[in-house]
Symmetry: C2
Subunit: 324 residues, 2 copies
């Protein structure tokens, strides 16, 4: 099967009209009038960002999902995406069939099609890069840099599930046995790791009130710090307010040392944002209408503090995941 | 050096204002009014698309150049680009310094900046994917599919230099000795392989008259066939009209069997296009004004033929390079 046949069989069916059936040099799309374009790219490598043994449809959905999560953090509506795929020597058609099925489903869930890309051979591990395009009303992209002292800090969903899921998945694959803290919810946590749920539904709430936003991909603590650095401010976070799921709470109860994993492990693909106090009610109402849980975890201030329940400061030796 | 430091040192200086210093989740750009967006992505892997020993600045310039060549073929003006870079275990800062210098120069030559991207680690070979964005007046993108019988077929520049350059480079690296046909122009041919020159200057000429266009990346014969397939037509090509450079002519004189290499080897990054006869004069005048040589090599017809000087038909066993 040559490159053209492979594209025609597995990827052309995912192309929207702008993708021209993936038979041209480029895609063409008319940007929505009065909008700015929001553009992001993320790469994933087997063995670094996922396990080669992960389900192919989940690998694809994750590669797209992490990019859609960036768009969601900017309150952008997705327009389309491009995929660069480097296939290792042992790729199979069965892999590509499942991979493209997962990619198509994830794209359809976000209402977008494949615009183009490239498929190449590599002697190394499976490597993917996706570029996603989105749109926001002109001048309205929510940046990381707009947080101001006094703004409230919110986070969507729950934190740490995917990092715990990764630890469970790693134990399953590399050691063949679950860690001692794995409970009845292991499969749920692993699923959170495998299949990010980009928070595109939060867009109306963010547009109504956020002064700054960012997606939580590399660890909540480090990502909050990155947003605060961009804003020239600092975060005061009440650690006890950070939302955990029932599975994560059970794991933390079994092994309290996992707290650092949940707060710095990354792969959450939730949104952390700063909301000026007079917009907080509207933000909460719109988030609730979108059925996205949001939790106030602190406030933007002049000096950083991460406080425990008893008021003592907590320090993080390693605050986020670095991909290099 | 962590991911943020690496981006700050080597890539943030290449970012245009839309890239927000590469410190946000995404770039934001206001599309030019009245324009469509043209988007393309190409990936390159060390050992497949280039040699790991190639100069780092040339690797970078080529990765961007092959994408700009796609935009040039669509008569699109470049707006910006994103880079996904997977670094192998032996990457060095010296490599990144040269790589980012070459990327910056290639971007500046096209008048564009870096919009964003991702840097990750791989256990495999150096892998790059670039997505390039461009703009064309609304509805005016030149597709592969618009060629009609009677249109004249043109190609820009000269064909085969890069394929011969690749053969020379391969001999140099893998065998440590030049092939028997390598002449005084070997360095020139290798340079054509290492440093594509995207034909962005041809945009006014293409907009004035082309019914279809495509960049020649995978071999002239196969690329002409791809454009004709998209157009539901066929090409009649006079092989003796295909333009060769003096270095390529010298190589072909020394070893006539290299003709297939020049016509099917790829990496030319020239433009092949179809021009209705009544637009041909304007097309030629505007190409000449842009200082891009264009050569008429045949005509769009109902049945394919690639004819030698004496009128005999030539068949190509393998018509293009496939990357999978």
């Amino acid at each position: 099967m040559n490159e053209s046949d492979l594209i025609a069989r597995y990827f052309a069916p995912l192309a929207g009209p702008e993708g021209l059936g993936l038979t041209d040099d480029a895609a063409v799309l008319t940007p929505p009038p009065g909008c700015d374009l929001v553009v992001t790219a993320d790469a994933m490598v087997a063995g670094t960002h996922f396990f080669a043994e992960d389900p192919p449809d989940a690998i694809a959905a994750k590669a797209l999902g992490v990019n859609l999560s960036d768009l969601a953090a900017k309150a952008a509506e997705p327009l389309g995406y491009l995929l660069s795929l480097a296939l290792p020597p042992d790729w199979t058609e069965a892999f590509l069939a499942e991979f493209s099925r997962g990619l198509g489903e994830a794209g359809r869930a976000a209402g977008i099609g494949l615009l183009g890309g490239d498929t190449v051979a590599t002697s190394g591990p499976l490597t993917l890069s996706i570029t996603a395009l989105g749109a926001v009303p002109e001048g309205k992209m929510i940046r990381r840099s707009g947080a101001r002292p006094g703004d409230l800090l919110y986070v969507s969903g729950t934190i740490g599930d995917a990092a715990l899921g990764l630890a469970l998945r790693r134990a399953e694959i590399l050691r063949g046995a679950p860690p001692p803290w794995a409970g009845a919810h292991a499969a749920e946590l692993i699923d959170r790791y495998l299949r990010p749920r980009p928070r595109l539904a939060l867009t109306p709430a963010l547009r109504a009130g956020a002064s700054a936003a960012m997606d939580v991909s590399d660890g909540l603590i480090g990502d909050i710090r990155a947003m605060m650095r961009a804003s020239g401010a600092a975060a005061e976070v009440d650690l006890e307010l950070i939302p955990f799921s029932a599975p994560a709470r059970a794991a933390l109860a079994a092994d309290p040392s996992l707290l650092d994993v949940t707060l710095t492990g990354g792969d959450d693909y939730e949104i952390v944002c700063a909301i000026p106090p007079d917009s907080a009610e509207k933000f909460e109402v719109l988030a609730s209408a979108a059925q996205v849980a949001v939790t106030r975890i602190g406030v933007v201030a002049a000096r950083e503090s991460f406080r425990e329940r008893d008021g003592t400061a907590r320090h993080f030796a390693r605050d986020r995941f670095s991909h290099v």
